[in-house]
């Protein structure tokens, strides 16, 4: 009995010590004087030289933290443990965060550089009037394919995927919006369509694709495509540009029938303690030269029209990542369809997954 009590005491003591250390570490890290700015961003999604430059120019100290999913980011901001001043969620998350009251409205008078953003990317449905967000990078959903494995065959649109020669060659991404969107787009319907007949039609069309689908995977698709496990993948343009840098045979195409247009955006979350510095940072990142340098580092597409002048011609004119205005016309941003419709999308996607060859 005595030994048992001793054991309990030791455990309690160790726990207390650990707790103390953690709180000490936290306070030494997250000091929140008026002179710091905490940025919450995706991993490797900014040129760190720019952070140094921002610190030098403004005298504000930047604390940089990263997340790997929108959901994880939102949960952490909801909890409010850390005082994030800037966060960079994707567009569908902005609507949700706004509804949960997690965002601070932007003061446009403090963001003169907002004028540099391409008009196409301003005032979009997920944030009318850019009240809460400013686009950071944008991209598309498209097809990445290995031209060598396909024997030089070219892919230009969704319809090409239904080719009988492509048996077991396609990796789809495990997302209901992406895959159902592909089905809808291939039938020339909007990828925000909620008409039951259209959805059914899209699902039937997708079922016909099953023989060509090798697997429906998540982030592993990068690894699998790089390793030439399959010749074709349904991916986001960001993923495409990353794996294309690793494997020269890979090509990316935005399907001619239309596809999804996505945005990652700078917002100021409720947790902020330094609204002023946050505005300064957003305005800094909107500077054409800064945006150009950042875009070259991250190699995603920048929405900053003025920045394009500072970037190499071959990058800006690369239609794979800066599609022509005619094609962008056909691209659609995911609308928040509401829980019920989203559930319908997921149900059909589940049925599609269960469809056997």
């Amino acid at each position: 009995m005595k030994k048992l009590i001793q054991l309990f005491l030791v455990i309690a003591l160790v726990s207390a010590l650990l707790l103390y250390t953690i709180s000490k570490l936290n306070s030494s890290q997250g000091f929140t004087s008026s002179n710091t700015l905490t940025i919450y961003n995706w991993g490797d999604y900014i040129d760190t030289d720019l952070i140094d430059r921002f610190e030098e120019e403004t005298g504000i100290k930047v604390i940089y933290e990263t997340f790997d999913s929108n959901e994880a980011m939102m949960t952490k901001i909801e909890q409010g443990g850390t005082t994030y001043d800037i966060a960079i969620p994707s567009e569908y998350m902005i609507d949700k965060m706004r509804q949960e009251n997690l965002l601070v409205p932007l003061d446009h008078s403090k963001l003169p550089n907002l004028k540099n953003i391409d008009k196409r990317f301003i005032d979009l449905p997920f944030d009318p009037g850019n009240k809460y967000s400013v686009p950071y990078f944008w991209g598309t959903v498209g097809i990445v394919y290995n031209s060598k494995m396909l024997g030089g065959k070219k892919i230009t649109g969704w319809a090409d995927l239904w080719d009988k020669d492509l048996k077991n060659q396609i990796l789809l991404t495990d997302g209901a919006r992406e895959v159902m969107g592909m089905g809808l787009n291939s039938l020339n319907y909007s990828l925000n369509d909620t008409d039951e007949a259209h959805l059914q039609e899209a699902k039937t069309k997708l079922d016909a694709l099953t023989p060509n689908v090798k697997a429906i995977v998540g982030d592993e698709s990068r690894m699998l495509l790089e390793a030439q496990e399959a010749a074709i993948g349904l991916v986001w343009s960001g993923v495409a540009s990353e794996i294309m840098a690793e494997n020269e045979d890979l090509e990316y195409v935005v399907p001619k029938e239309g596809s999804n247009l996505w945005f990652d955006n700078m917002v100021i979350p409720r947790t902020t303690k330094n609204v002023d510095a946050a505005h300064q940072f957003i305005n800094f990142m909107l500077d054409p030269e800064v945006a150009a340098q950042n875009a070259e580092y991250v190699s995603y597409s920048t929405p900053n029209k003025e920045a394009l002048r500072y970037m190499p011609k071959e990058v800006v004119e690369d239609e794979r990542f800066y599609p022509s205005p005619e094609l962008t016309e056909k691209l659609e941003v995911y609308e928040n369809l509401g829980k019920k419709n989203l559930a319908r999308y997921n149900e059909l996607f589940l049925e599609f997954k269960m469809h056997r060859k």
Partner: protein
């Protein structure tokens, strides 16, 4: 008197644990299952469960769980029998258990490499002249990897049962003229049946709701009830439907426990 008091005190953690982590979650799941996606009280989820989509999913989950359990048993029983006959049986047993200390995700990723088009398995098939096959993302790879992961849990209870078997019984069977097969069928197997039942329970029940392997190894070509629950909770945020599937899983598991349960019988 004091003894009784301390007994009651020791009872507190148990009761708290059961109430907080067993009964409360089950009640919560049951509670959530009565709400539709818009948060209205309704039985629509239960109605939906009896549509072809979910019935088909239930059947296929059962089928795969059955295959995994059956193959595990077929491999595990002879292995356990062999282990009890070896000299350093604890060491051999340890070697079988060691892989279960490695993170499941890591093992799954390793198998992606092994079974891939340019992986070791296909390299071997090339060498022996069969030629490269699609192994990854097939039913075969899914069942193989699942069996690999579950097999220690099948071997352990069977090994324990065999180990506890009184050797004099085997001698008696032998003296009375039973053949080796007869001894196995009439003496060894019936006496280790409890181990087999435990093993089957420990494998079948988790196999019924496997979800990560279905994506990593089966490329979502195998959909189990576990996959559907994951999707409903994380993507659709239709907690009601997810909970309803979970309720059915709980009911099914109780039924299995009841059927295969170790009802104590006099020897």
């Amino acid at each position: 008197m004091q003894n009784k008091l301390s007994k009651n005190i020791f009872f507190i953690p148990y009761v708290l644990w059961i109430a907080l982590f067993v009964i409360a979650p089950i009640l919560l799941i049951l509670y959530y299952s009565f709400f539709d996606i818009e948060g209205n009280l309704s039985l629509v989820n239960y109605q939906k469960f009896f549509t072809p989509v979910y019935l088909k999913m239930t059947l296929s989950s059962f089928w795969y769980a059955f295959l995994i359990t059956a193959i595990s048993l077929l491999v595990a029983y002879p292995t356990a029998l062999l282990l009890t006959k070896t000299k350093h049986k604890q060491l051999w047993l340890l070697l079988i258990i060691v892989p279960s200390w490695i993170n499941l995700l890591l093992k799954a990723y390793a198998f992606i490499g092994i079974f891939g088009t340019y992986g070791v398995a296909n390299g071997f098939l090339e060498v022996i002249g069969i030629g490269s096959q699609q192994i990854l993302f097939t039913d075969f790879s899914f069942i193989f990897v699942s069996v690999y992961i579950f097999i220690p849990f099948m071997i352990l209870p069977i090994f324990n049962a065999l180990d506890e078997l009184n050797p004099t019984l085997l001698d008696a069977a032998n003296d009375l003229g039973a053949s080796r097969w007869m001894t196995f069928r009439r003496v060894i197997f019936p006496l280790t049946l409890d181990g087999v039942k435990t093993g089957c329970q420990v494998v079948f029940i988790p196999a019924l709701s496997l979800f990560m392997l279905t994506r990593l190894i089966a490329g979502n070509r195998v959909i189990t009830l576990g996959t559907a629950i994951e999707q409903h909770f994380l993507v659709t945020q239709d907690w009601g439907m997810g909970s309803t599937i979970a309720v059915f899983l709980i009911i099914i598991m109780f039924l299995i426990m009841f059927v295969t349960g170790n009802r104590k019988q006099g020897v």
